[in-house]
Every structure is written in C-alpha cells, then in structure tokens.
Amino acid sequence: MPQFILALFIALSFSIGTFLILRRDLFKVLWGIVVLSQSANLFIISMGGISGKVPVISGHETYVIMTDPLVQALVLTAIVIGLGTTAFALVLILRVYEECGTLDLDQIWGGI
C-alpha cells in the first residue's frame, strides 16, 4: 500500500510539473521544471526500494532487508546539480525581466 501511495504521489507531482511548464508565465515554467526534477529524484529514490529498515553498515548482517544506498547517493548528486542550474535559471529570468520588462512568454518573443 505505501508503494501505491508513493507511486500515485510521484505521478501527481509529475502532472503538476507538466501543467506548470505549459504556462505562459516564465517564472511558473521554471517552478514546473523544479517540481519535475524533484519528482524525478523521488522516482529514483523509490527505485531503490522503500522496504528496507537498516542502513548498510557492518554489524547489520543479520538483517536481510536493507535499503539500497546507491540511489540515495545518486539523488544527492542530482539535488546539488539541480540547485546550481535552478540558481542560474533564476538569475537568467531576472535578467530577462530587466531586459524585457515582462515575464510573459508571448510578449518576450512577440517583441522581435
């Protein structure tokens, strides 16, 4: 049951992200991408299995079910990369607002 709820939640956040990407407001588009990348991270975490009860360290050999630590390492890397790129995109959007005076995508591209 928890797996099902998690899957449902990931699907929901993917659809929220997709909805936001299709907006005209540039800022909302960026939030859509942030939501999407977070749901991708959730997806990877859930791929490692959520049934484990103990971390992988010595002394826990008697327990059979362990959570896969690799996916967590991957997601940590992905979060850091996502932080950097999101920060850059935010600054870029600020520059677009300063140059164009608007964040409406139609007007940004309409003024050529």
Partner: protein, 529 residues
C-alpha cells in the same frame, strides 16, 4: 618510479586534470588578461599533449582506469578506446582553433567575463563525457558541459542573448530531468549503472532476473535526450537563435564540440552497450523488430527531416550566423543518417559508424572554422547581413579561400574529407540496391536533395558575401592578415585529412570496430583483459 611511469598509470585522467587545472587557474588570475591568455593557451597545448600521451597507450582494445582503484561495477570507470580517442582528438583540434581565434577578440577578453575559464570547463565536461564508463557519471558530465555553455551563451547578457538562452536553458533542464528518469528506470530494471556491466546483464537477462521488455521505455527516453543534445529536428528550435546571439567563438564550441557529445553518447549507448538482439517492447505492433532497429527507424525519420528542413530553412535566412545554424541542423541529420541505416540493417553497422565518424570530424572542423570566420567578419565590419556585405574576396582573399574550402568540405566535394563521408554514406544504399530497391532509392534521394540544398545555400553565401562588387561597408575596413591565416590553418586540415585519407581511415576504422565491440568493452572493464 619516474614521473612518466606515474603519469602513464593515470593517463586517462590526465586530459581531465589538465582542463580542470587550467579552468581554475584562469578563474584565479582573471584580473590579468595577459596571465589568463597565457594559462589558457598553455592549457590547450597541455590538453593536446595529454591526449597524445593517452593515445600512445591505447593500442588495441580499451584502456580502463578505475578511479581510486575501486573494482569495476562498484566504482567509476573511465574507458579510453579508439572511439573515445578520436572524439578527444577532434575536440583538441577544435579547441586549438577556437582559442587561437579568441586571442584577438576584445569582446571576449574582458576581466569580468571569465570566458577562458568556462571554455576550459566545457573541455573538462566534454572530456569526461567521452571517457566515462558509467551512465550516471555521463549525466554529471553532460551537466558540467551544459552549465558552462549556459554561461558562455549569455556572456554579455544583452537582450538577444538572454532571450535565446531562456529556450536553451529551460529545454536542457527538462532534458536533464528526463535523463535522470531514464537512469532511474534502467537502474531499477537491471540493478547497475556501469555501462559494461549493463551491457553484460542485458545480454544475459535470465541470470539477473531482468524483464527485458520493460527496458524499452528508459532507452526511448535516453534516445530523446541524446537527440535533443545533438539538435535533431523536433528538438532543433533553440539552435538558430542561440548560435546567432552567442559570440561566434562560442557558437564554434557549441557546434564543434558539445553537439558531438550527444552523437557520441548515441553511438556508445545504442551500438556498444545495447545488445542488438533485444526485441522491441510491443511485439504485436512492431513484429519481431529488434529494439535497435526500432530506434534506427525513428532516427532515420528524424535525421532525414533534419536534412531537408535545415537545408530549406538555411535558404530563407539573410543572416550569416543563422544560415550556418540551420546548416548545422542539416549536417546533424547527415551525421546521424548513416547511424540510422546501420541500426536498421545490421550488415552495414561498421560502414555506418565509419561514415558517422567521418561526418563528425568534417563537421566539427569545418563548421567551427565557418563560425570563427563569421565572427571575424562581424568583428571587422560589424554586420553579418547578406545584403550589406559583398565583395570580401577582394579585400580578404585568404579568409575567402578558407571559407570556400570549409564550404566545399561540408558539401562533400573531393579532395576534402567531407567527400569520404558522403562516399561511405552512399556505399550502403548502393550495396542494398538489389535486395532493397525502394528503400535504397529513397535513402539516396534524401542524400541527393540534402546535398543539393547545401550546395544552394553555400553558393548563396558565396555569391552574396564574397563575390561581386565591394559594398561600402567592406570598402571602409581592412582585414588584418593574421586572423585570416589562423582560419586557413583549419581549412587546410580538412584538405590534408582528405588527401591523406588512408592514414585517417585506419584510425576511423579501429574506432568503428571498438564502437561495435561490446564483448571487448565488457572484458576490458569487468575482467581487466
């Protein structure tokens, strides 16, 4: 142990270290333009020597480097085989051309811009992507390359650059997310991200309890991500405005180096790693088509439409940079068309990869020189508009000659290297003519239409900008001779590669063999053979 012995043990990591060190040094000394230029030039020469040093160790098979000596499926492996090596050599040639032509560009050598530093960060990311043997690591190198290229595209952050970068950045952020998704899927299905281990597990699905039909979707997403990086047609719309607005040296890097990362990854993942006998997911829809043939069919449609669309769009533009950008889209189609034929017909796999590598080499050198030349024209005359420029062949004969050679090579006229790309591309349908007449004729007609279109738009550039009477804008300026010779150098390289093709061919041939040699790749990485 002597220094050489220590270095030779770490030879695959050397180009990376050199690029990273240079990037840091140029960032550290960015206040002094002279020091920055010195370190940047030194860094490129060191990079080239480290690539040559690495090349001296890669004789047969793959050279494997395990970071921190962790054994293969657990640590991060670097694999230097002939394919990676030829990509690194290509990168070094383009990097040298770009950096030599950046010295005289005052709009890039500003202490507030850190252009050289991010140039070397791009080299760093690209080198990692060409050498890595791990899928997640490939994602990380993609991001390193992309973040540096975002900064270079928006280097002056004026209205045009920010507007062009918005599409580029947001699209690639979505691409990165998609790649993460497919990595998660592949890890969940196979339980590994090491490319060699992945290839082994996929060819022995029973041993590892892998449901082979579910592998289709993650690989489809991966395919879309690579197509986006290489700028094939449905994902091409960011290219023209980015190449137009970014400084020409940056466009040269983007079209000459970073675009090839997506194409390299496509060869590596779909030809080396993915076993060719895996059936596509839905056997009712696709019959017993293999997964590789399915991607070949998609790739054929994408690259054929890129060739036609890029050619037609280039004909309708009036800005030199935009014509070159659309020509890049068309050439990306030419680079990937042989690959799609190789995926569809396994007999032609080797020929296909050979043709793809020749096209990549040709396009990297020729298109980056064309962009550098266009940047040079813009720096001198201040305009790239086809209607304002005319008669450059009189005031800058050497520039015009090098431009002509690059165009000739991109069209595919002997004795340039571009001719051999077209030759190997045409050999495949010629062989299949008796067994598959309709598809061969279809392929040949697409190649002919694409080549005619490129002939047309390049003739148009030549007639309007270089020939004819000198326009007032051209008459009022002088073209410095040094810059012209720098562009001529890479143009001559295209002819030299074409004349000495026998020597080049042995290198390309071994690269194509190592691209197809899955078992050799697995043995080298997993069993140290």
């Amino acid at each position: 142990m002597t220094l050489i012995q220590i270095l030779s043990g770490h030879s695959p990591a050397l180009p990376l270290l050199v690029a990273l060190t240079t990037a840091s040094l140029t960032l550290l000394f960015r206040r002094s333009i002279k020091l920055t230029l010195f370190f940047s030039l030194l860094g490129v020469f060191m990079y080239i020597s480290s690539v040559i040093f690495l090349a001296s160790f890669v004789r047969s098979g793959a050279l494997v480097y395990q970071f921190s000596s962790w054994p293969a499926p657990y640590g991060i492996s670097f694999v230097a085989d002939s394919l990676s090596l030829i990509m690194l050599i290509m990168t070094s040639i383009v990097a040298l051309g770009v950096i030599l032509n950046s010295i005289n560009a005052p709009h890039l050598n500003d202490e507030n811009l850190s252009y050289h530093s991010f140039f070397h960060f791009i080299l760093f990311g690209v080198t990692g992507a060409f050498l890595t043997g791990d899928l997640f690591n490939l994602f990380v190198w993609f991001e390193v390359t992309l973040v540096s290229s975002y900064i270079l595209v928006t280097i002056h952050s004026n209205i045009g650059q920010t507007r062009a970068a918005i599409t580029y950045v947001l699209l690639n952020l979505i691409g990165g997310t998609l790649m993460l998704l497919s990595i998660g899927g592949i890890y969940a299905i196979t339980g590994t991200l090491n490319l060699a281990d992945l290839s082994y597990r996929l060819s022995h699905p029973g041993l590892y309890n892998i449901s082979i039909s579910s592998i289709f979707l993650p690989f489809l997403i991966l395919f879309i991500v690579f197509a986006l990086k290489s700028g094939l047609v449905p994902f091409h719309f960011w290219i023209p405005s980015v190449y137009q607005e970014a400084p020409s040296q940056v466009s040269a890097i983007l079209s000459g180096i970073t675009k090839k990362v997506g194409i390299y990854a496509m060869i590596r993942i779909f030809f080396t790693i993915l076993p060719s006998d895996i059936p596509a997911a839905n056997s009712i829809l696709f019959g017993n088509l293999s997964i590789l043939a399915f991607f070949g069919a998609i790739l054929f449609i994408l690259s054929a439409s890129s060739i036609i669309f890029g050619g037609l769009a280039a004909l309708s533009e009036t800005n030199l940079d935009r014509i070159l950008a659309y020509s890049s889209i068309s050439q990306a189609g030419f680079i990937l068309l042989p690959l799609s034929i190789g995926a569809l017909f396994p007999v032609f796999k080797h020929l296909a990869i050979v043709a793809t590598i020749i096209f990549m080499l040709n396009h990297s050198i020729a298109k980056s020189s064309l962009f550098i030349a266009s940047g040079y024209i813009k720096q001198i005359t201040g305009s790239l508009n086809l209607s304002e420029l005319s008669g450059i062949h009189k005031s800058a004969p050497i520039l015009s000659l090098s431009f002509l050679i690059c165009m000739v090579s991109l069209i595919g006229i002997p004795p340039s290297i571009g001719f051999f790309g077209k030759l190997y591309l045409l050999i495949m349908p010629a062989h299949a003519l008796s067994s598959n007449p309709y598809s061969s004729i279809f392929i040949v007609s697409i190649i002919i239409i694409g080549t005619l279109l490129s002939l047309l738009y390049f003739t148009r550039i030549w007639n309007m900008i270089f020939w004819g009477e000198i326009s007032p804008i051209v008459a009022s300026v002088k073209f410095p001779i040094l810059g012209q010779y720098l562009i001529l150098f890479s143009a001559i390289l295209l002819i030299v590669f074409g004349m000495g093709f026998d020597l080049m061919f042995s290198l390309i041939d071994s690269a194509a063999f190592s691209a197809m040699d899955s078992s050799g790749y697995i043995d080298a990485v997993l069993y140290n053979k």
